[in-house]
Subunit: 421 residues, 2 copies
Amino acid sequence: MKNVEIITIGTEVLIGQVIDTNSAWLGEKLQIAGLNINRKTSIVDTPELIISTLQKAFEENDIIITTGGLGLTKDDITKNSIAKWLNKNLVYHEPSVEHLHSFYKKRNREVNELVLKMALIVEGSEGFVNPVGASPGMMIPLPNNKYLFCFPGVPNEMKALFETYVFDKLKKLSERHTEHFHLYLTGITESQATALLSDFENSLPDYISIAYLPSYKLLRMRLDLNVNNENQEAIQFFKTKCQEMADLLKDYIISYDQETLEQVVSRLLKEKNKTLAIAESCTGGNLVGSLVKISGISQVLKGGIVAYSNQIKTQLLKVSEKILSNHGAVSEPCALEMAKEIRKLFQSDIAISTTGIAGPDGGSEQKPVGTVCIALVTQNFEFVKTYQLGNNPREIFIDRVIAIALENLRRLLLGIQLQKN
Amino acid sequence: MKNVEIITIGTEVLIGQVIDTNSAWLGEKLQIAGLNINRKTSIVDTPELIISTLQKAFEENDIIITTGGLGLTKDDITKNSIAKWLNKNLVYHEPSVEHLHSFYKKRNREVNELVLKMALIVEGSEGFVNPVGASPGMMIPLPNNKYLFCFPGVPNEMKALFETYVFDKLKKLSERHTEHFHLYLTGITESQATALLSDFENSLPDYISIAYLPSYKLLRMRLDLNVNNENQEAIQFFKTKCQEMADLLKDYIISYDQETLEQVVSRLLKEKNKTLAIAESCTGGNLVGSLVKISGISQVLKGGIVAYSNQIKTQLLKVSEKILSNHGAVSEPCALEMAKEIRKLFQSDIAISTTGIAGPDGGSEQKPVGTVCIALVTQNFEFVKTYQLGNNPREIFIDRVIAIALENLRRLLLGIQLQKN
């Protein structure tokens, strides 16, 4: 397999000014292209360090990717350093010169000599017009069939250039045949999945590997095939293994198409033509807010009430004083009343409610921090359940409650039994 | 100044399984400690690569920090590689052995030989008991008064170990005197601040520097003093410069104490004993949701209504059909009605409303994507204003609306004029 090194140029990443999200994104794409990433280096922008880092990367790798340092401030010295390293000149990339003129005109800004410097590329390289920004990207051939690719540091510019021009080139350069099987799961942790797949993982040949990409809401998994060439026997075997993995994980799979929980639920609501309303206490608007981030949700989402104070629970959501005094606001009867009332109030087909103790204060022995009651109701169905999520930072607690509520909504829409714990 | 290199060990970061938030956090802390970060390297976990990377880092730097590879799986080879590099043995760190027993007992899990391996540290090093996890951290003296610090890769464990044991040691090792002046700002972009501070920045001696740490909600800025020793003249001059910078930016400063906008608003509501209710359309629960993430907000936040559909706007928030047909849901009259009605309904002192076009669809020539109307009302005050935020991804649009709404609330609470654009 061919080796790649990613080099991030600029102080911002080193001193914590920005979090380097580019490298993680690139890392995943490079792996999918069939390349091997051995090292990622972030350096400050001095010519000496850029040149020595490029030289070392060239000696040990087949492909080098740099991000950063292609803009117009005095810190942007990536191109000059590369030209010095390779003993080449910088030349204007005419399509990018034209692009800069129209790009600046649209924004009513003047193109001066400083701006035009952005259109310079290393002599002998292939320039790529930036689809969403000003600075072009570059592909520079190096000795021994090696290549250097350069991108701006701004994430959306790097991503647009990579996807428009570079991914297919890298897939070809890798000279590998790769296939990928994506699974998105809920209700299972990374370590539970690792344990469940232990025998399966041991049965894999070295050209098939598993990747785990966990978050608080979702476990993304990928089975990767990476072989020398289009070997039909290996491809067939990979298909068998994909099926085997899907069978082992079948109780937890929510999507084979890289859909998030929010996207799956939004799609199912539309497919089944059902409307939704949400009454939130502990999640405080973040449950409905997570759905609002999905474009087109307005067709099925009527809205919600954030009943953070008990006053709103009794007045607007008609939770009886008796329930509050006998059971408390964090109780299954309260959650059920909240869901039933908001369904009536908003005239929706389905309603969800959440009430819990996010912490750090407010817990008791009976109801420790991390206790949450979640209810889901329709015209002829009622479900309510108490979950214990343990002591977490508020944001993680909220994310986990959202994940359980949406997973139960997904199951309700599919007619599957809801989560018992 | 002393040089540091951060080395991240493990494939997770390289193949995009996790985003490396540790390095950005460490980068900021190291700068505050008065150290100079030249390079950050992420490598896969092979002993050869770990050893060659450590050797190079040792040759070029004074302090090395590693994260990752201290757990109990077969991939966790950081300690063994370091021992091999330094030709030393691994020995049990007795306080961590004890800690592991109590840590596992609390979780009803057995301590076996494999688990105990986590308590091994490099001979001659200082071990640090992990305050929130299992694996200890280490400080290993190297030749020529250099040091190697090792942390687990899990962010909250790395941070707890760093703050409990290591930050003060590094501050001492840096042999520099550092001071820091923090400003949190809203209503100004990084490039606007750069332009505003251009002369100021040019007037700074090389021992004083500015750091910009932007996000969509907030611009964090820091002025740093970094001198050889406690030089009273430099400290006095730094104080003058802090005052000068604060004066230049005074219209935008929301906090000198590293408080976020949500924290400032939450504190002010409590101080002024005012309650809040929020009616949201385009932000869909994310405005109230951003406040709910602040612990203790329940004292002042009554809750909100997410009126995503027009039906809810008319029925629950009493927006007249006439306003909707004459002006539309994204209009100042609609925003004003929403805010007035939720204040009545929730019996709050203050109410905020948002209604806008998040996109990508739903825009028109008159009301393009990115148009938002925000209203704030009290018993005897009404404010409503339309803002044009341009075409952004939904999440960025939502964050920017939240920032404007909360900034206006802050100004209202302080009796300052609200934002005109």
